[in-house]
Symmetry: C2
Subunit: 255 residues, 2 copies
């Protein structure tokens, strides 16, 4: 009998978020699932790791047949602690999410969900981050099930290229029209803070902002298809070296 795949699940919204529960239910039909996720919300934590504080692992009741643990750290901490202290072998797959909110375009770089997926990739584990473009507490993850099942099973069967993981985003409030494999749209944020003052008159700032898609009409990009009701898959490389610019930088600095 073939061994069931071992699937590690992480996220950045916390081990008890609705999105991770939905992903756990799907994955539990495909393998042995272990959840190791943050004990608190870790949105926007990118690939941050905890350098100068102790990390602790807490065991929780099984959920849908999956072992569930939390860590008092970031998504990357969770992946590293899972490998160090929880799993007895390297998992066959790492899934992160389902994130409550978009990780499309440049937001990949700030995303704790994708921080966990990129960490799995660095450790040589086929890794996928899933996100839904909705922060609503009533967000419906059900329409995503067949798409997540198909992408996950194909990656389990076929693997991923070395050094590459997947950033998968789904549109809110509809059943996806299909899946497009594309690149992240070029864009940036503006008006990034709301200004306040304390009762004593000291200014403070709270993150908000508007995302500007710099190529809204480009069908090569994730934002284009998400806006048209499709799920998008962007291959992501944690190694950020711009190999194609080594010559031009050499010309600038050395020659």
């Amino acid at each position: 009998m073939e061994k069931r795949p071992l699937i590690l699940i992480c996220n950045d919204d916390g081990y008890d978020a609705r999105g991770i529960d939905h992903l756990t239910r799907i994955a539990a039909t495909m393998g042995d699932v272990v959840v190791v996720a943050p004990d608190s919300a870790q949105s926007g934590k990118s690939s941050a790791l905890t350098v100068n504080a102790p990390l602790m692992l807490t065991s929780h009741p099984d959920k849908d047949g999956a072992k569930v643990y939390s860590v008092n750290g970031t998504p990357v901490d969770c992946v590293k602690i899972a490998i160090h202290a929880v799993l007895d072998r390297k998992p066959d797959l790492l899934l992160s999410g389902i994130n409550h909110g978009s990780n499309a375009a440049i937001n990949n770089i700030y995303s704790g969900t994708m921080g966990a997926a990129m960490e799995g990739c660095i450790l040589g584990i086929p890794s996928i981050g899933y996100s839904l473009l909705s922060h609503s507490p009533e967000a419906d993850f059900t329409p995503l099930t067949p798409f997540i099942r198909e992408i996950t099973s194909k990656v389990l069967a076929g693997g991923l290229p070395e050094g590459v993981c997947l950033n998968v985003n789904f549109p809110a409030r509809c059943t996806p029209m299909g899946i497009k494999v594309v690149r992240g749209a070029k864009g940036h944020w503006s008006e990034e803070y709301q200004d306040f003052a304390t009762p004593h008159g000291t200014p403070f700032f709270w993150l908000t902002g508007k995302f500007h898609n710099e190529e809204p009409d480009n069908p090569e990009t994730d934002e284009y298809w998400l806006g048209r009701g499709y799920g998008t898959v962007v291959p992501i490389r944690p190694d950020q070296t711009a190999n194609d610019k080594i010559n031009v930088i050499t010309d600038l600095l050395i020659n």
Copy 2:
């Protein structure tokens, strides 16, 4: 009279670290310098941003002619707050560092120093992160001065390609033999935690680890030249899309 360039300086070791002081002194000879850096150590913070807490800006006495501010947040928060609330125009250059410790190879992804540099790049500012491969409190930054001055002045004069910033590392305990423009070495960390137990017997973990260079004999990589006494420059692209893998992922998932 030509306007002096406006240079924004950030780091992840805190606004009062020795490395940022050294960088400020160098930059102050080249332009008008404003330091906006974390109020506490933010090593390993990657591109994390503060989503659910207020950020405050504190003004400190000028240093070497530079305005100095701190922010109670991450390196990326500092860059964003500098643009939002400190500078009256987009800076001509962003410098981050000098970091106390290596950011070579895959460590770029965890680095708060490079988080700040990549944020500058996303905002369209030519950006450079500088690091010295030493955590010693007595680390000598002096031998780096001519190299930092030359790289910085060439980038000020010539700019950088769109969407690309620089990750510059220097060897410890010697004057660099020269500068090599290369890619980040392939590698990973192992034995990442030391295990402890509280007085009550509860296990906890503290990050440590050994870096394994997977291509120690490859002169195309940063680790190779750092080990031979050279400074290294790696062009870094914050957009992590693996454009060259879109077709293979399309074949895997769609076709």
